[in-house]
Symmetry: C2
Subunit: 545 residues, 2 copies
Amino acid sequence: MNKSKLIDAAMGRIPCDLLLTGCQILDLLGHRIVRGNIAIYEGIIVGYGDIELNAKERIDLNGCYVSPAFTDAHVHIESSMVIPSQYGRLVIPRGVATVIADPHEIANVCGEAGLDFMYNDRSPLRTYYMLPSCVPATPFDSSGAILDGAECKKLWEKGNFLGLGEMMNYPGVIGGDEDTLSKLNLTSFIDGHAPGLSGRELSAYVCGGITNDHECNTAEEALEKISQGLNIYIREGTGSKNLEELIKAVTPYNMHRFAFCTDDKHIDDIYREGTISHCVSKAIHLGMEPLTAFTLGCVNAPSFYGIRGLGAIAPGYAADLIIMKEPDPDTITDVYLRGVRYRDEALPIPDTTAVRGTLHIKPVKAEDIQPQSGPDIPVIDARPGTLITKPCYPESTEGLMICSNIERHRATGRLSSAYVRGFNIKGGAIAQTIGHDSHNITVMGDNREDMAVAVNGLGSDGGITVVKDGNIIASLPLEVAGLISAKDYREVLDGNRAVNLAITEISEDEPSSLLMILSFLSLLVIPELKISDRGLFDVTRFEFI
Amino acid sequence: MNKSKLIDAAMGRIPCDLLLTGCQILDLLGHRIVRGNIAIYEGIIVGYGDIELNAKERIDLNGCYVSPAFTDAHVHIESSMVIPSQYGRLVIPRGVATVIADPHEIANVCGEAGLDFMYNDRSPLRTYYMLPSCVPATPFDSSGAILDGAECKKLWEKGNFLGLGEMMNYPGVIGGDEDTLSKLNLTSFIDGHAPGLSGRELSAYVCGGITNDHECNTAEEALEKISQGLNIYIREGTGSKNLEELIKAVTPYNMHRFAFCTDDKHIDDIYREGTISHCVSKAIHLGMEPLTAFTLGCVNAPSFYGIRGLGAIAPGYAADLIIMKEPDPDTITDVYLRGVRYRDEALPIPDTTAVRGTLHIKPVKAEDIQPQSGPDIPVIDARPGTLITKPCYPESTEGLMICSNIERHRATGRLSSAYVRGFNIKGGAIAQTIGHDSHNITVMGDNREDMAVAVNGLGSDGGITVVKDGNIIASLPLEVAGLISAKDYREVLDGNRAVNLAITEISEDEPSSLLMILSFLSLLVIPELKISDRGLFDVTRFEFI
């Protein structure tokens, strides 16, 4: 940034590039709405309000509202099933200019090659990457790559990362595990992940240098965590929707300790409702004062990460702007990035050689799938809208689904199965190479035969298959690490729609939510009962059952 | 900080050093008061609230209130007339654990040697230094040292500085001066100084990367500056008292954009009322909600400078604590620094060889002092409680004081004189080697003879002299750069009291305020009419008259 030129432009000694006139400006630093103009030079705001400056171009916004663009405080882009550049095309039109991304999904499959792939797939979206801290998430996982302390140090020194990604291994932190602590010493920007952690365990976790949490389920939990020094990211994704509950905790006095994030959101949900724009809009519709909602969506996340000049309309800030008919992201008409009106265009597809062909399994037979049942064997109770599961003990297995997790990185043939309550599939199965965070195969169905067909149909690249009565009726190839398609986002959207439509043929469950929750049944750091390729896992006791 | 040990202590696996019990804890992150205990290990808080942990020592606070310690967001320690270590002894008992200090007074006299002297005079007070950006304050100054862009870069690379000190040369910034801009590119933490700046000039100044301002005179000015991206430091010093006016601008929505500072405060005022403790207490007495006042005094300044782990009670934060009978700093009973109860003790006096003997002048005769008068020649109108002066044109010089400024670094003999309104000295004069920011000699009196005696009595080290009827009736040697005494603060206090008492023999003006305002009559960056050794200066037009 050439300060000299900015100052010249601000003083009117050289013309600005653009003057937006007739604006109603969301002055989020001053917490008020100001009528006036916004002057932009080389992508940077050099003045706003009651000002008049020469400019090469003037655009009259005719009373429209102008807000700074949004930042997603924590997102795994992989969960959208598109590559970062295509992800930008999805979210920028909804006003997101910046994301703090944690590429730990692809890291679990491909390690450094995956991180490099994501980092190098650039787009107009400002994408800051956190170094994944928990690959694998736990010592009990069977991942494709392992990033121990030494490996993390090596990766950190590449200089590609803003901080350390979510430290999900809270047992490691509060247990004082040496390798875990060595990661916490890499930087002072450390994302947290501590669902339900409280009291002295929470204090110990925070002593590790963790600065935020996006796993709160109740307003009370959020308030305890703020008091213990964490910033709270209100998550509204596909599988977890915490916004309605957590905004109860927001007051004028603590509002600068909250931000919005999506964590994991499917492409169809993103396309349908947006990401942070949806959070801001939903918060407003639920009664949050609009300037507060925009502050959470725009100002706070860049501030938490010490990123200067993003998230507000003020001199020296990036001219990443949202134009709206009303102060509500539902009414966005235009988005400006670096002072230029954003127009969607096709982007080159990157080379995926280094990150494809990641599926290595032995063919699965129906008889390999042997879920156990009995009075002492818990069934996984899953619910829509949350990734948290509970153990339950129904009297019979009638109406329960079968779920299996199959190691897919090294063709070990490891497979475990369990019964699941909360879903309703009839005469079919769904398999996918998405299974947080090791991304082994997760498959669910009401019969073992269809489940085997679904798994064996995943090919060598992986993706999602839907089987009905012994036949694959839809599939979505996700050739990048078995998680992402490198295609144009519209093709992925179409493919995903076909899969969702196919799912409706075998289930009454909402397809996106079903796929998302299925993919999280193997995440051993979210309470309480999960399944890996090695068996059922009690997250609370942090051990296999 | 050994995270492993902190975690062990937080979890109770090893005993804490100290458990404060029976506390009413000011939880400023959560904006509430919490009853409970505070656990401390190696100077760091490892837990608080409803916790019980083993500890080597337990202290029952019996319902006392506990707050984090204060930070002074911007202070020139030199204005206290004691060295940094002695300054610590003055402010720590009043709850200040941290200061962001700008040593630009001594830098104007001694350059790098002065900066080194301050940096090396360590004490328990956490003292962060900003690199002085404006030595001298303007090209019109006659200072003892010059820190141009190249010199600043060299000094910055020593690694002793947190950021760039107050950029007072706003004409240089908004004029795009190359040397000034080179300083602004050293760091992203840049203190501001922009009294009355508004509109496009303010925008241009902020485009230079300036992040705060401590020169607001009205709530309206503060609100404009916040909207333009600056944090506001509410100043309550000896010469400038802005608190009562500026707290009108503080709301729950913007309270995290304000901090308290003293800027310049005399030793007697510090001793009598404290510094930030006084700001917090005064704000509360003026009606500010106590938790908000403490937030401004404790939380915000460290946050503005990206200093982690200071200013709140939470795990991982420094155990710099204030114990009070009520949530009001007027009731402080104890202060803890790094988890240890603070006890005042004498400190070693540092070697001052490199920073003394800085006074080089030719003897001054009464006839050298020739203030001009006439209908077109402005008189300086000074007022208590503000450093801002105005030009005025009284019909006669009756009742006006004479003020002179005399170059003192290179014995050039340069001297200029003017009339001043607003003070009332009878039969005497006051001279001092404090004269912001070049620290030439400022002398004021009602007659030229006493003025000459006062100047000639300053010796080779400098200080303050008070003359009555031709005789020096009191003097305070300030051997460090002519600004500071290296003695124990109690001796300086006594010496200063003697000077103040002597002033009351020749004037009805409040002595501290008189000395402070006199010392600022030469600061060419505070509006509107100032005097240097080269003559009267119009600050608004930034030129000599």
